[in-house]
């Protein structure tokens, strides 16, 4: 070996030894889904918000339990029934060096209806009547009617500079020209379904993130994502599939992070007069719709063994649910008891209702929307067969399921629902309230459930600005709907992330977001 090659070799070894420190500044994350566009006003998809949050800030932020936190707005208050004032953060810079002012926030709100796509962001601005700039750091929003949940809506309001221009479309954003925000990272590059490359923004107003460069790599295939982690190609993955969870958990080289998600699997019994898929006894359609009878709905509920669903069917990756939102959310009823499993009582109720020998019913659900949807569906069918029912369970692709569900073609269905805004109006207003186009409620009420008592309490809540009084009313509404078994919640799904053991600190979030700037190297 000549002297020069020796020197090179020594240098190479020295470099290799130093390498871990170099790599520690970069983070590669493997994700099941990525964004659809770099335009933050294009889509409301969770994976979209998850990704774009690195580049853009929202007016209001949420913590890992979906409680409101200051974002670009430091405080907000309702000054009368139809006016909200937002105090904005001073000294915030965009990636191009310009200052953030109320003008930019106003532009961002007004831009949404102009550029949004099929997953319309207008649902976050539907209460906005007009926006007024009081001064550089005060934004005034006039609402259509009373809008107590406006701050919750603004947790998805990404802010872009007012120079962006209304006509800028997805292509300008995807190329990076217009992808300018105030967030902790600057966009380096992105392609549909490809890697999203980010680099740290030194002028960020908040705490500087640890990682200099972040790559968010889309790996939709579950097995491929796990393989990428095991081969060290990525540092962290989200959505660890249940089938790999136990193996990874038992592997001392790996570490898992588990959190409740906002997603709950709900059974939706249709209470229309004539059910779309007939309920039969010995092949003969029964008179009327048995699901209209509260005793039948209670019997279905009592026959569900939620502990079995959680511990056996979902491999421990779940929590029993007794209402449509996880604990701690705004409007979560603490009065509701834990749901019990009591097959004897269920049989009794069913006999009382006039079906001592049960009936035959179709039960439809999704098989690819959330982890565990198909297996829970099949398990439920078996649990109900112990009650004496004949259940024809059918797990369908979401592509087929959702349009048919929208046409109300299912007598009994199950799908996942997540309370993404962290409060009851979003969930109970959409799923349980009597369909009412004018008020914009009941838009996802697939069962046609309608209860004037519930509607009254809920509407009173929607018209109340004081948070404490509103919370009480929503809690009461939750209680009424759940006691009436408007829907039957089964389990709260959990989300699992995984990384190599001892490498990263990461606090999992209920909204399933993987925020690179909230991840730090392990001490």
């Amino acid at each position: 070996m000549s002297r020069t090659t020796l020197k090179t070799a020594v240098a190479a070894i020295a470099l290799l030894a130093a390498a871990p420190q170099v790599f520690a500044e970069d983070l590669v994350i493997g994700l099941r889904a990525g964004p659809d566009s770099m335009d933050p006003h294009w889509s409301t998809l969770g994976s979209q918000a998850d990704a774009l949050r690195h580049v853009y800030d929202t007016l209001i932020d949420v913590d890992d339990k979906l409680q409101l936190q200051p974002g670009l707005a430091v405080s907000w208050e309702a000054i009368d029934d139809t006016t909200w004032d937002f105090k904005l953060r001073e000294g915030v810079k965009f990636h191009d060096g310009t200052d953030f002012t109320a003008e930019d926030a106003k532009f961002s709100i007004e831009r949404i209806p102009e550029v949004t796509g099929p997953m319309s962001m207008t649902l976050y601005t539907k209460y906005v009547d007009s926006v007024e700039v009081v001064d550089d750091y005060t934004l005034r929003v006039h609402t259509k009617g009373i809008a107590p949940a406006l701050p919750n809506d603004f947790t998805r309001l990404f802010v872009v500079p007012s120079e962006t221009g209304m006509e800028a479309g997805n292509e300008e954003f995807n190329s990076g020209d217009k992808a300018i925000g105030t967030g902790p990272y600057k966009l380096v590059s992105w392609q549909p379904k490809g890697d999203m490359e980010l680099t740290r923004f030194d002028g960020y107003w908040g705490d500087a993130p640890v990682w200099e460069n972040v790559t968010r790599r889309e790996i939709p295939d579950d097995a491929a994502r796990v393989a990428a982690l095991r081969s060290g190609e990525v540092d962290l993955i989200n959505y660890v599939p249940a089938s790999d969870y136990l193996a990874i958990k038992g592997d001392s080289d790996m570490e898992t992070f588990v959190s409740d998600s906002v997603y709950i699997l709900n059974v939706q019994p249709s209470v229309v007069d004539e059910e779309p898929q007939p309920i039969t006894i010995d092949g003969e359609p029964v008179d009327g719709n048995p699901l209209q009878d509260l005793r039948v709905r209670k019997a279905l509920d009592l026959a569900i063994n939620r502990d079995v669903l959680v511990n056996i069917v979902l491999e421990g990756l779940g929590t029993p649910a007794n209402q449509l939102m996880p604990e701690g959310f705004f409007g979560y009823s603490t009065e509701l008891p834990t749901r019990e499993y009591d097959i004897a009582q269920a049989k009794e109720l069913l006999a009382d209702a006039g079906y001592p020998d049960g009936f035959e019913i179709d039960f439809t659900c999704t098989n690819n929307r959330v982890p565990g949807d198909a297996v829970v569906c099949e398990a439920l069918a078996q649990m109900w067969s112990r009650l004496g029912l004949t259940v024809n369970a059918q797990a369908l692709n979401g592509t087929v399921f959702f349009p048919a569900a929208a046409r109300k073609e299912y007598t009994m269905a199950m799908s996942a629902w997540g309370t993404l805004t962290g409060e009851a109006a979003y969930t109970y207003g959409a799923l349980v309230h009597t369909p009412d186009e004018e008020k914009g409620f009941g838009n996802f009420n697939r069962t046609m459930y309608s209860n004037p008592e519930f509607d009254e309490v809920f509407n009173k809540g929607a018209q109340t600005l004081g948070p404490d009084a509103r919370k009480k009313l929503y809690e009461e509404a939750s209680f009424i709907a759940m006691e009436d078994r408007a829907l039957i919640p089964t389990v709260i799904l959990q989300t699992v992330w995984a990384a190599e053991a001892g490498t990263l600190e990461f606090t999992p979030r209920v909204d399933q977001e993987t925020r690179a700037y909230a991840i730090t190297p392990a001490e």
Binding site: S120, G169, Q191, P403
Partner: protein, 324 residues
């Protein structure tokens, strides 16, 4: 010859036209894409507005008519999910699929045909038996499973190759491809091998069968009697005579590999069109589905045409009807 080409092209247009109707009706029957895409928090008013915005409230025939009018003006539509023209979207992903297919077809051809020739030339040798056993594995074991095994072995356990992705893309003579960089090759080799196994198995068996048959024919016997070396006989006579079935299968396989490399692309996170089409189907992104399927039809028509032309070149007895 020219008349033949014209007729084939007219045929192609008719097939594409029929295909577009089938796809359109099929997607329409599944339901409204808005119901798949829409955010759960959206109100009826927002939903109605969106449906009108995308023209989904129109009757089927009018939606189809609008589509045809746009196509006539060279506009194949805009992806509902990405809001970029479908053509740009598909063509941004096509190079990745093409290079994967190119490498896998090369592996299949340059390993499969010689292996098949050998197995047919010395059918009783141990090596020939091993080749045949492997060829059976090649097309009877599912692709995704072999893919995962390859990843577990070469990426996870040995750490030699990356488990997925396309790697660095370099530019050469204005063409961008990962085949121009070492990193790119390290990424492409495993998925390409995975994708080639099925075709390799087929080629081995076809070549062997042809070879075994040809070796017993009179022309081989006479050639041997003349004292020609076996190598020359195989290259100049046998190979030419057994190529017709090989070319046919090769053409068909090339088409289906290009169109449906989706399993391999998913397992190896290869950013090609296969993954794009599956995602689009799951989201009912109608413009992408229609454009892609039409592209596939065009592709098959072109490949079949090429195969027919190669036939004529290989075997003068095959006459292209309509030629004169």
């Amino acid at each position: 010859m020219f008349g033949y080409l014209v007729r084939r092209l007219i045929q192609a247009v008719a097939v594409v036209f029929a295909m577009s109707i089938i796809v359109f009706v099929g997607v329409y029957a599944i339901g409204n894409p808005i119901d798949v895409l829409i955010d759960p928090g959206a109100t009826q008013e927002i939903r109605a507005k969106l449906i009108a915005q995308y023209g989904l409230d129109q009757p089927l025939w009018r939606q189809y008519f609008t589509f045809l009018t746009n196509v006539a003006q060279g506009d194949l539509g805009t992806s509902m999910v990405y809001n970029i023209p479908v053509v740009d979207l598909v063509f941004s992903r096509l190079p990745a699929t093409l290079e994967l297919v190119f490498v896998s077809v090369c592996i299949a051809t340059f390993v499969g045909i010689p292996a098949g020739l050998y197995a047919g030339y010395r059918p009783d040798s141990a090596a020939a038996r091993a080749i045949m056993a492997l060829s059976v594995l090649g097309f009877s074991v599912p692709t995704f499973w072999i893919g995962m095994l390859l990843i577990m072995l070469f990426a996870v356990n040995l750490g030699w190759l990356p488990s997925g992705g396309r790697g660095d893309v370099a530019s050469f003579l204005g063409i961008e491809s990962s085949l121009f960089s070492a990193d790119g090759w390290s990424h492409v080799i495993m998925p390409a091998l995975n994708l080639s196994l099925f075709k390799m198995g087929l080629l081995i068996r076809l070549t062997r069968a042809g070879m075994v048959e040809a070796m017993q024919t009179d022309y081989v016997k006479f050639a041997r009697a003349q004292g020609l070396p076996d190598g020359q006989i195989i290259r100049q006579h046998v190979l030419r005579n057994i190529s017709i079935p090989i070319v046919t299968v090769f053409g068909l396989e090339l088409g289906s590999t290009l169109a449906f490399a989706v399993v391999t692309e998913s397992v190896f996170t290869w950013p090609g069109v296969g993954k794009l089409i599956i995602d689009s189907i799951l989201q009912l992104d109608r413009p992408v589905m229609v454009t892609y399927l039409i592209l596939v039809v065009v592709l098959f028509v072109l490949i079949n045409l090429t195969v027919d032309l190669i036939y004529a070149r290989l075997d003068p007895r095959v006459r292209l009807k309509g030629g004169a």
